[in-house]
Structures are given as structure tokens and as C-alpha cells.
């Protein structure tokens, strides 16, 4: 399918989807550019799989317009069934057809049966499983099954591939390898992809852009580092990565005073209310040993309560003398012990959010 570069591969406008009760997907609007890899990240129950099923055509949105490569797939009047959308799908756990061998699975969506054989060989080469044409799905390992499922989805050369938590059934060590392979493969053949996951590491490491979903809405769409470093809502900040949330006690211009001292606020507008909370990442905090500080000591004092050591980094929980508990991330070991008196220094800028309505 050739389209001019200006046309997005997938466009969603004001999509609402429900199952007869309350809407599960609410007012989703987003676009996916050609050759882009977008992940939809959200906790279970956030509506991300429902959204994916609506894009695939398994569900009809209550309202809204789904446009695929410039063609309307679904709006109030028209609705293309899944078999006419030319979208490749890699379902959870692969879902290979158990009554067909690997070649039969990959050839399932191919119209031209004469060229099917060559295409199957080509696809198997691509996913690095040459020679397994005659294998049955239950003879394959989890990672192999997942790659066959990908080959099956890609065999008819779809312009868009949807991946529904495809790696969640793999064990951790395998997951990393398969992820890397899949990402490289999709980039090589230039297929647009939308991947749904609840695994933030997966979402951040694979995507060109991440869409964070919560309670049926897309809260933020952006590059992985943008949603991590610069979340636009408290929900997004809380869902991605570890968080230090501190109430603001005083404002001075664009600086907020908190339990860890003065923090410069990004994109602060004067009109915003002065009460709220500041969110920081644990790596924005630095530990300084209490002994050997000069007459004008930096940071605020506290006591180490616990240390979680992960090898490449460690998270140290410090009970500040003022009361709150904060997490500090250090590369490698923290070099302190439980009970040590330390000082916590804040670096960089932070975002401030109004207190959530309880």
C-alpha cells in the first residue's frame, strides 16, 4: 500500500468504545506516522487492549473515526470488517493454529498459494527459524512461537502491525532477546507498529513514542524520555518509574520549597495555585555523607532506613528529619549503611501538580 508521506498510517479521532455498559475507551485521539513504532502503556483495565481490538476491527467503536492509511475503516456510517483492514496482529501468547504446522500458519493469510512457499521460506529466514516449516506449534519454545506469530502477521505484508502484550508469556531472560529482535526486524522492513503493554520497561525501551493510558483515556503521548522526565499528569508520573512526591510548603517565583529544600519548577505559570506537590525522580536526589561537611552544609539531613541493592544501582530510603521518607537512586552501591545520618541534595528541575481531588 503506497501512500504519500503526509498521510498518517493510523489516525484515531475521538474514539469511544464500550461493551454496552460504561465506556471502556474514552475520547481517544492520536495519530501514528508511517514506519513509526508506538507503544500504548497502561495498567490492566485501562482500556488499552480494547482500543487495540477496535483498531483491528474486532470491536466497533460507539463513536469516533478510525482511519487506516487515509481510508476510513470505521465511523458512524461505515465499518470495515477485520479481514478487509490489512492489519497484521500478533496476539497474546502467539495463538498459533494448533492444527497447522509452522508453514501452514505463516501461509494462512497468503492469497496466492503458488508464491506462498517462497514467502514462507523468506519469512522464516527473517525471524531466524529456517528449517522449521514442518514443526508443530506445540513443539516450539515460547520465544519461537512468538516469532512464528510475528512471521504469520507480517507474511501478507501489512502496512500496520498490532502487537497485544506479545512478550508477557515469555520468561524474563528470553523476553529481552525477543524484544530486541522484533524491534530490529520491524525497523528493517519499515512496518508501522502499535504495541500494547503494561510493562513500562518494554514500552520505554522499544518505542519511538509512548502513549500512556489510564481509565480509558490517553493521558500523554510523547518520546519515551519525555513521558519519563516530563510527565504532564500526576497519573503518568506515578505510573512510569519510581517517584518521590513532596508537598509544597512555600512558593517563591518559579521555585517551590519542599522537605528537600528549594526546587526550581519547570514551565511554571504564575496563575497556578501555590499549593500542590512536586514530583521528582529518585535519581534527581544525591546522598552526601554528614561528616566532613563545611560550615554551610548542602541539602537536608536524614537517616537511612533501608537499602534496596539492584547491582547496577541502588535505592536508598532516607527518613528526613522533617518527617517524610524519600527514595534516592545511586549508581552502583550507595556507600552508606542503615542507620547512617546523611544529607539529601536535590538536582535539576521538577514539575509541580495540583493536589489530586480526593
Amino acid at each position: 500500500m503506497t501512500t504519500s508521506p503526509a498521510v498518517p498510517q493510523l489516525s484515531l479521532q475521538n474514539i469511544f468504545v464500550g461493551y454496552g455498559g460504561p465506556m471502556v475507551v474514552r475520547d481517544v485521539t492520536m495519530e501514528v506516522e508511517q514506519r513509526e513504532f508506538v507503544t500504548i502503556l497502561g495498567p490492566s483495565g485501562s482500556g488499552k487492549t480494547t482500543l487495540l481490538r477496535a483498531i483491528a476491527g474486532y470491536l466497533r467503536p460507539a463513536t469516533g473515526i478510525v482511519t487506516i492509511a487515509g481510508t476510513i475503516a470505521s465511523n458512524e456510517r461505515t465499518w470495515l470488517p477485520p479481514e478487509r483492514r490489512q492489519i497484521g496482529i500478533v496476539p497474546q501468547e502467539g495463538a498459533l493454529f494448533p492444527h497447522l504446522d509452522v508453514a501452514g500458519n505463516i501461509a494462512f493469510g497468503l492469497r496466492d498459494k503458488k508464491k506462498a512457499r517462497a514467502r514462507v521460506t523468506e519469512m522464516l529466514e527473517m525471524v531466524d527459524l529456517s528449517g522449521l516449516e514442518k514443526a508443530r506449534p506445540h513443539e516450539l519454545s515460547g520465544g519461537q512461537q512468538q516469532r512464528v506469530a510475528l512471521a504469520r502477521a507480517l507474511a501478507p505484508a501489512p502496512s500496520l502491525v498490532l502487537l497485544d502484550e506479545p512478550f508477557s508469556s515469555l520468561d524474563a531472560s528470553l523476553r529481552f532477546d525477543v524484544r530486541t529482535q522484533v524491534r530490529r526486524l520491524l525497523a528493517d522492513i519499515g512496518t508501522t507498529a502499535v504495541l500494547v503493554t503494561h510493562d513500562q520497561e518494554e514500552a520505554l525501551s522499544m518505542a519511538d513514542r509512548v502513549a500512556v493510558m489510564s481509565a480509558g483515556r490517553i493521558e500523554q503521548v510523547g518520546a519515551p524520555w519525555t513521558v519519563y522526565d516530563d510527565p504532564t499528569t500526576l497519573n503518568v508520573a506515578r505510573f512510569i518509574g519510581d517517584l518521590v512526591e513532596l508537598p509544597v510548603t512555600e512558593m517563591q517565583g518559579a521555585s517551590a520549597h519542599t522537605a528537600v529544600g528549594w526546587v526550581p519548577i519547570r514551565d511554571h505559570s504564575e496563575s497556578e495555585s501555590s499549593s500542590g506537590r512536586v514530583v521528582l525522580r529518585p535519581e534527581q536526589l544525591v546522598l552526601v555523607a554528614e561528616r566532613g561537611v563545611g560550615p554551610d552544609p548542602q541539602g537536608v539531613p536524614g537517616t537511612v532506613e533501608s537499602i534496596r541493592y539492584h547491582g547496577h544501582d541502588s535505592l536508598t530510603s532516607v527518613r528526613l528529619n522533617d518527617g517524610p521518607l524519600v527514595d534516592v537512586r545511586s549508581a552502583g552501591g550507595a556507600g552508606v549503611a542503615v542507620g547512617d545520618v546523611v544529607r539529601v541534595v536535590v538536582t535539576g528541575t521538577a514539575r509541580m501538580f495540583a493536589d489530586p481531588v480526593v
Binding site: 483491528a56 470491536l59 477485520p82 496482529i89 493454529f97 492444527h99 494462512f108 493469510g109
Partner: protein, 534 residues
Amino acid sequence: MVNSMRPPLLLIAAAVVSVAVAAIPLLYLLVRTSSAGWNAVVEALFRDRTLETTITSVALVTLVIVGCLVIAVPTAWLLARTNIPGRAFFLVIAALPLAVPSYVMAYAWIAEFPSMSGIGAAALVMVLATYPYVAIPLTAALRSIDAGHEEAAQSLGLGPLAVARRVSLPLARPAAAAGVLLAALYTLSEFGTVAIFRVDAFTRVIYTAYRASFDRTTAAVLSLVLVCLALLLVVIEARIRGKSQRWRIGSGVSRPAPRQQLRTRGTVLGVAWLVGVAVLSLGVPAWSLTRLLLESQRSELDIGELVGAVVGSVSSSMLGAALALLLALPIAALAARYRSRIVRSIEGAAFLGHALPGVVVGLSLVFFTLAVLPAAYQTLAVLAFAYAVLFLPKAIGSSRSAIAHVPPGLESTARSLGRGPLRAWCTVTGRLAWPGIAAGTLLVFLTAMKELPATLMLRPTGFSTLATELWSRTEIEAFGSAAPYALTMIIIASVPAWLMGRWLARSPETAPSTDRVDDEMVRTDEVAYVGGVR
């Protein structure tokens, strides 16, 4: 997984048509009864004979229930929870009576003991024919009790007997209750055995009223009373079955409870019990039949008649099975994938067939054809239709569970790969479920071969089947010449048990399931259904 989407309208329409067609006998019976006028109905209903018949039927059913429990509980306990030798062998022995149509068993007994008659004789034979419905699920349930439950009870200070009484048996109760109700339903609908022993239960009285007198209102009213009783049993059975499913939550990996180590005396008593049950349920019929067969060589066996009966049985049953499949598929496809009020009521209506005894369907279709379609009266088509209505629940049950075992994700993936709804269903769901669908159809075919009362009432003039030939010979006490027909019948009836066993042994590969526990339970259910409710 059950799809939460709205089912396709076309599928619902097809299922509704199926149910409507299958409901013709019951609906027409209602029409026929009400057209007789209120006074006639009341008069028939409050005749002494109606009350007597009800008492007889209820008494027979009660005796059979008690008898089944008396035989099945010790048998199941021995097989499931002790180290008694030859368990695998005795388990097969416990299932085998299902392969003998109950009126064949009654025929074998009366040929051996010609003085047998009355409610006691009928109850004895019905117990021997139906106790597997209780024993087999009960054995499975006792086997599947988690050791953890019993150990917990022991740690709380209960002795072995108290554990059995307060933990193990209550856990197995739903399985036993469902089995007992199945046996009760079977007894209520049974015609052949009741007629052979001259017990005036509903089925015999209805048949006699239809044959002997021109007062068919009585037959119709009694039929409705019988249907109500059967309906009551079906509803209770369905309730208990549903409850038992809720009881096996928390599957996980369970450890089977240990078997009790029997001492010498216990082993001898246990084996004696199992052998005794086997002698009564299989030994006597086998002995009687062998003797009759050996004797019948002297009398004349008309091979032509036997072949004619086989051809009649096969052709009518095949037609019936095909029709049942046609009616069952839309309902099964709908019920396996969708859950809504409409779907539930369609499925429920289809399962009402369980509560329709053959006598009732036969009678109603006689009325229906005579009044509405005189050209169809006593044609093969109407007989096949009766089979389809009677055994529709079997075809649905088997197809439905097979379709439900195919992950719906496979079908939607096939859609995304460019196949339309019908093609995706046929190449993926239908293809993967076909062993189950075929087994269901086969089950209908083989059960239809054994059907007696509806066949007697609806068959074309001069048309004979194995069941009708056996019947007419038993009626004139020509037991010897009936033997070859009984033997042929048993051979045919054993086929479903054997094929079903093979299919069930193979099915996990064909239809992968993540929930093995559930799988096992489905299989126990289906084995219990092999013999059929009729």
C-alpha cells in the same frame, strides 16, 4: 473466554429457528390438549388412574434412586479411595452397563426368570442399568478431592470416619446428586423395561391409552404431567450441576488424597462386593443372552429380517443424526461464545429436550402429522425428526464444549489475516472443534438406534428396526428368536463408549486447554452421557 460482543444477528436467527423447530412436539402437545376443552382436561387429570400412575412412577423413581446410591457409593469409594486390586478393570465393569439398553437388560432377565414382574423387578433392572450414572462421576469426584482438605480436617481433630462424613462426601455430593437425577430422569422416561415387567408407570399407560382407546385426550394430559415431572428433574439437575462447577474453584495443582490400605478381610469383602455387582449387572444378562443365542441356532433365524432391521435402524438414525447436527450447530456456536439473556434462553429451551420422553414426542408427532401434515404421517422423515428433537441436547452439549475449547483469539486472528466470518469459523473453529462435533453426531446416531417408543409409534408401515424387532418378539415371549437382535443391539451400543473413549483420549492435543481440571470434569460429564438419558 466468552465474547462480550453482541452476537451476529444471523447466528441468533438461525438458532431461534432451530429452537422453534425443536419445540414443535411440546408446543403441539399443549395445543392438542387445550383444544380438547377445559372440562375434558380436568376430567382426565382428576381420574383415579392419573393419581395411581403418578404414585407408581414416583415410587419406581424413588426405588431406583435409593438402589443406585446403595450400589454406587460403596463401589465408588472402593475404586477411588482404597488400594483394592483390579481397580482399572472394575472401573470399566462399572461403566459397561451403559452399553446395554435397559430394555435389553430387562429382556435378558425375564427370559431367565419368566416369573419376574411388577415394580420391584423393574426397579432392580433400572438400578443395574443406571447405577453407572452415579458411580462414575462419584468415583471421579472422590478421586479429585485434594489431600489438603482431608489433612486440614484431620489436623482439626477429626477421625477417618468423621473426615469422610463431614468433608469427603459433602465435597462429592454435587457429582452424586447430578448422577442420581440423571438416573431418575432415565427411569421416568423408560418405556421398554416398564412395559416388559407390566408396571403401569406413565410411559406404559400413555402408550396403552394411545394404542387401545380412541380417547387420546387422556394420553395427551398424562404426557403433559410426565413432562412436568421430567422438567422438574432437569431443572434440579441443572442447578446442581451449576453449583458443582462453582465448587471446584481454586484449581491450582492439587494433590490426590491417599488411598486407604485395606487389610485382607477388607480386600476380600471389597472384591466380593464388586464381583457381586458385576454378576448382577453384566453376568446375568450375558449368561441369559448366551444361552438364548445357543438355543436360537436350533430355531430359525431369518437373516433377511435381521439385515432389514439393521438397514432400517441405520438409515433412520443416520437421517436423525444429520438433522440433529443441523439444528444443533447454530445453537452450539452461539452458546459457546456468547453470554446474554437471549443466548441463555435459547440454550435453555434447546435443553428442554432432555425432559421429553420418547413416548411423548412420538404421541405429539402422531397428532401433529395427522392434523397438520397428513402426507407426512408415518414417514421416515417424521421418525428422523423425532430422533433429532429427542437427542438434540446431546448434539449441542458435545459440539458446544468442543467449540468453547477453541480459543476465540484464533478465529479473530484468522479474520485479521483476511478470512471472512464464515470462512474463519469453518477453517479454524469448526476445523478444531470437529472431533467433538462429530462425536456428538455419532452419539445421536447410536442413541437413536436404541430408541424404542417413538420408533414404535412413528415408523412407516412395514418398516422395522432392531429395537422394534426385539420388541415384537419379546411381546410374544419368543425370547430365543429375539436374542440375535439383542446381541446386535449391544454390539452397536458399545461402539459409542469405545469411540468416545478414543476421542476423549486424543482430544487434549486437538483442542489445547489451559485448564486441565475443567477438561477432566467435562470428560466425566460426557462419559456419563454416553449411554444417553434415554
